[in-house]
C-alpha cells in the first residue's frame, strides 16, 4: 500500500505542507502533522517539505504481461446499423497509435442485421472487424452488450480499447472496464503511444484549468473514451485489406434484464455540433436580453448561438446549445466567444475549431 509517512523527529511544524496541499488534506493536530483521507497522492507535500520529513512507502504492484495484449480495438457505435461518425474518428486515431508499435487495428461491431454495414467498415484502415449478430443485440442494453464486449476482449486481448464518448459509450465503457478491473480515462483530448504500449491519455482534470496526463501502467486493456469531433475522421483506403470475423456466444450471454419498450428518434434540430459558425456567450453576458444581440450576429454570419454551462444553469438557454465537457463538442470554422474566460471545461469542447 502506498502511503505518505511523516517523520516527526524531522518535522519542524513549518506548515508548508498544510499550505501547499491542494485538497486540504493536511492539518496540524497539536504538535503533529496529520494527513486525512482527502489526500489524492499528488505528492506536492513531499516535494515541498524543506526538511524532507515526508516520505513515501510504495510497495511493488502486480504488473500484467503487456506482451500478451496486442492491438487497438475500436467499439463501433450505431443505431439500427447507422454507424456513428465518431467511429471513423476513432479508427483514424487507432491507426495512428498502432503503426509505431506495429499493432493491428480491430473493430467490434454488435447488433442485428449489420452485415452490410460491417463490409463498409473495411473501406477504412482496419485489419479485422469482429461482428456479433443477434436480434437480442438490436438495441443497446448495457448488460448483454457488456457480456459481448467481454467475450471479444477475452478472445482478442487488445492492448487499447477506444470508445466514443457518446451517451452509449459513456454508459458501456465503464462497465466493461470495471469487469476487467482496468483503467478508463473519460473524454481524452489527446492520445499518444509509448514504446512499451502504454497509452498516454490527456484530459482536463481536477475540475479546474488544468490538464492531466494519465497512464494505465499496470493493467490491460487500457480504456479511453473520446468525444465526437475531437479527432479527425479517417479517409478511406484505396485497397482495403481488412477481414471480417463472425463471432457467436452462448445464449445466456445475450440475455438481458433490461426490456426495451420503445426507441424514438428525436426530431432533427439543427445542432451546434454541425454549425460552421458559432457565436458563444458566457457568464460575462450580464443580462439575458443581451443574448439577442449575439443571436443576431450569429444569424448574420449564417451560424448559431451557443452558450457555456452557467448560462444553461441560469435557464437562459437549452442545454443542447451548451459547449464543453458537460455539453457538446464543436469544431466550427469560426467561433466568436463573448464574455467567456476560457475555462478548460469549456475550451475542451471547442479547441479544435479552425478560427477562434
Amino acid at each position: 500500500m502506498a502511503v505518505l509517512t511523516i517523520n516527526n523527529k524531522r518535522c519542524n511544524l513549518c506548515g508548508k505542507c498544510v499550505m501547499v496541499c491542494p485538497f486540504n488534506a493536511i492539518s496540524q493536530q497539536d504538535d503533529k502533522i496529520e494527513i486525512s483521507a482527502g489526500c489524492k497522492m499528488c505528492k506536492l507535500c513531499l516535494k515541498n517539505c524543506p526538511v524532507k520529513a515526508i516520505g513515501l512507502i510504495d510497495e511493488k504492484r502486480v504488473m500484467v504481461n503487456k506482451e500478451e495484449w496486442r492491438g487497438i480495438l475500436v467499439f463501433v457505435e450505431h443505431l439500427e446499423g447507422n454507424i456513428h461518425p465518431v467511429t471513423l474518428e476513432l479508427i483514424g486515431k487507432a491507426r495512428e497509435l498502432a503503426d509505431p508499435i506495429k499493432h493491428p487495428v480491430y473493430c467490434l461491431f454488435m447488433g442485428d442485421g449489420i452485415d452490410q454495414k460491417a463490409e463498409n467498415l473495411l473501406r477504412y484502415p482496419v485489419d479485422k472487424v469482429f461482428i456479433y449478430e443477434d436480434k437480442e443485440l438490436k438495441y443497446f442494453r448495457v448488460d448483454n452488450y457488456t457480456n459481448i464486449f467481454e467475450d471479444c476482449l477475452r478472445k482478442v486481448k487488445p492492448s487499447i480499447v477506444l470508445v466514443g464518448a457518446t451517451s452509449v459509450g459513456r454508459s458501456l465503457a465503464p462497465r466493461v472496464a470495471a469487469r476487467f478491473r482496468t483503467g478508463l480515462t473519460a473524454d481524452c483530448t489527446a492520445l499518444e503511444i509509448r514504446e512499451n504500449t502504454d497509452l498516454v491519455q490527456i484530459r482536463p482534470a481536477f475540475g479546474g484549468n488544468i490538464m492531466a496526463q494519465i497512464i494505465t501502467p499496470y493493467a490491460r486493456p487500457q480504456f479511453a473514451t473520446v468525444r465526437y469531433k475531437v479527432m479527425t475522421p479517417v479517409p478511406r483506403v484505396t485497397r482495403p485489406w481488412g477481414t471480417i470475423e463472425r463471432c457467436s456466444v452462448l445464449p445466456e450471454k445475450l440475455r438481458s434484464q433490461i426490456t426495451v419498450r420503445q426507441v424514438v428518434m428525436k426530431e432533427e434540430l439543427p445542432g451546434i455540433s454541425e454549425a460552421e459558425v458559432l457565436v458563444a456567450a458566457g457568464r460575462g453576458v450580464r443580462e439575458q436580453k443581451d443574448l439577442a444581440a449575439l443571436e443576431e450576429l450569429a444569424t448574420m454570419l449564417g451560424g448559431q448561438l451557443a452558450v457555456t454551462r452557467p448560462l444553461v444553469e441560469m435557464g437562459w438557454a437549452h442545454y443542447t446549445r451548451q459547449i464543453g465537457l458537460s455539453g457538446r463538442t464543436v469544431k466550427p470554422k469560426l467561433i466568436i466567444t463573448c464574455g467567456i474566460s476560457g475555462a478548460v471545461q469549456f475550451s475542451a469542447g471547442m479547441n479544435a475549431s479552425e478560427c477562434i
Binding site: 502506498a2 502511503v3 501547499v20 491542494p22 486540504n24 488534506a25 486525512s36 483521507a37 482527502g38 489526500c39 489524492k40 497522492m41 510497495e59 504492484r61 502486480v62 443505431l79 438495441y139 443497446f140 442494453r141 448495457v142 451517451s167 459513456r170 454508459s171 465503464p174 462497465r175 472496464a177 470495471a178 478491473r181 482496468t182 483503467g183 478508463l184 480515462t185 473519460a186 473524454d187 491519455q201 482536463p204 482534470a205 481536477f206 475540475g207 479546474g208 484549468n209 488544468i210 492531466a212 496526463q213 497512464i215 501502467p217 434484464q257 433490461i258 426490456t259 426495451v260 419498450r261 426507441v263 424514438v264 428525436k266 465537457l325 469560426l334 478548460v344 471545461q345 479552425e354 478560427c355
Partner: protein, 262 residues
C-alpha cells in the same frame, strides 16, 4: 421502496489555477459543496419515497469533512447517511472509488434502487455509477430524464441517448443515473435543518469492510495514474487588437472574410 443515493463533496469553485514555475495548484478559497448533479438524484429518491413509501439512504466516500454533504442530505429529506472514509482510500481513481462504494453498500441493508447524479463537477467522468453497478452485479441505465412507471418489481424510465431516446424497464435491484430535467430539486427547509441537527452520520472505515485486499483500494486499487498536471497549451497564432470596438469589428470582419469563413 429502499433507495440509496450516492453523493460527493466537490470544490465550490472551479477556479483552480496552476503555478507554472512550481507546478503547484493554486486555490482561491477552500469551500466545498454537494456536487450539484447529486441534488437531482436526491430529489428523485425523495419523490419516489413520497409516492411509494420506504426510505432514502445517502452514501459518500471522502475525507471526514465530507460528512457535511450527508448532513445536507438529511435537511433535504434523507433518512440515513453513511460516509466511507479511511486513509487507505486515498488517491482512488474511478475504479477504486466504485469498488469502495460497492463494498460500503454491501454493509448496508438490502436496497431496491441506487440513484446517482449524471456526473460530478470536479471529475466530470460520469463513470462511477456504471462501474458501481458492475461491481454490485446489477443492471443500470444512465441519463434518465423521466420515470414513467414504478411497480413492486420494476421501474420504467426514459433514457436520453442524444439523437434518440428509449423507454426501458429494469427490475430491482438496479442503478440509474439521472439528468437535470428529471425533477427540480427542493430548497432546504429551516424546519428540517433544526429537526435533523442532531442526526448521526454513520462512518465505515477499511476495517469494517469485508474485502480486506488492500490492492483494491486507494492508490493501489487505482488502474490509472496521473503522471503530471500542466496548464493547457495556449494557442500559437494569436492576434491582439486593442482599439475602439468599431475598428476591431471592421478588422474581424475583414479577417473572417479573408479566410473565406463568410
Amino acid at each position: 421502496m429502499k433507495i440509496i443515493v450516492c453523493i460527493k463533496q466537490v470544490p465550490a469553485t472551479n477556479r483552480v489555477g496552476i503555478d507554472e514555475s512550481t507546478g503547484v495548484l493554486k486555490r482561491e478559497g477552500v469551500e466545498s459543496k454537494m456536487n450539484p448533479y447529486d441534488l437531482y438524484a436526491l430529489e428523485t429518491a425523495i419523490r419516489l419515497k413520497e409516492k411509494t413509501g420506504g426510505s432514502v439512504t445517502t452514501v459518500t466516500m471522502g475525507p471526514p469533512q465530507a460528512k457535511s454533504v450527508i448532513k445536507e442530505s438529511f435537511i433535504l429529506g434523507a433518512d440515513k447517511g453513511y460516509i466511507f472514509s479511511d486513509r487507505k482510500f486515498v488517491g482512488s481513481d474511478v475504479l477504486a472509488t466504485a469498488y469502495t462504494l460497492s463494498q460500503g453498500i454491501r454493509l448496508l441493508e438490502d436496497f431496491d434502487l441506487i440513484i446517482c447524479g449524471k456526473q460530478t463537477t470536479d471529475g466530470d467522468t460520469a463513470q462511477v455509477g456504471p462501474e458501481l453497478a458492475e461491481f454490485l452485479g446489477i443492471p443500470h441505465v444512465t441519463w434518465v430524464t423521466k420515470i414513467t412507471a414504478i411497480t413492486e418489481e420494476a421501474i420504467v424510465v426514459e433514457q436520453d441517448l442524444g439523437n434518440s431516446y428509449g423507454i426501458l424497464e429494469l427490475p430491482f435491484p438496479s442503478l440509474i443515473t439521472v439528468e437535470k430535467e428529471i425533477f427540480q430539486p427542493r430548497l432546504p427547509s429551516y424546519r428540517r435543518k433544526v429537526q435533523t441537527a442532531g442526526k448521526q452520520v454513520n462512518m465505515f472505515a477499511f476495517s469494517n469492510f469485508i474485502d480486506h485486499d488492500d490492492q483494491k483500494y486507494g492508490l493501489n486499487g487505482s488502474a490509472t495514474q496521473v503522471e503530471r498536471i500542466f496548464p493547457p497549451v495556449a494557442y500559437k497564432d494569436q492576434i491582439f487588437w486593442e482599439e475602439q470596438a468599431l475598428v476591431v469589428a471592421e478588422k474581424i470582419y475583414a479577417l473572417i472574410k479573408d479566410k473565406n469563413i463568410i
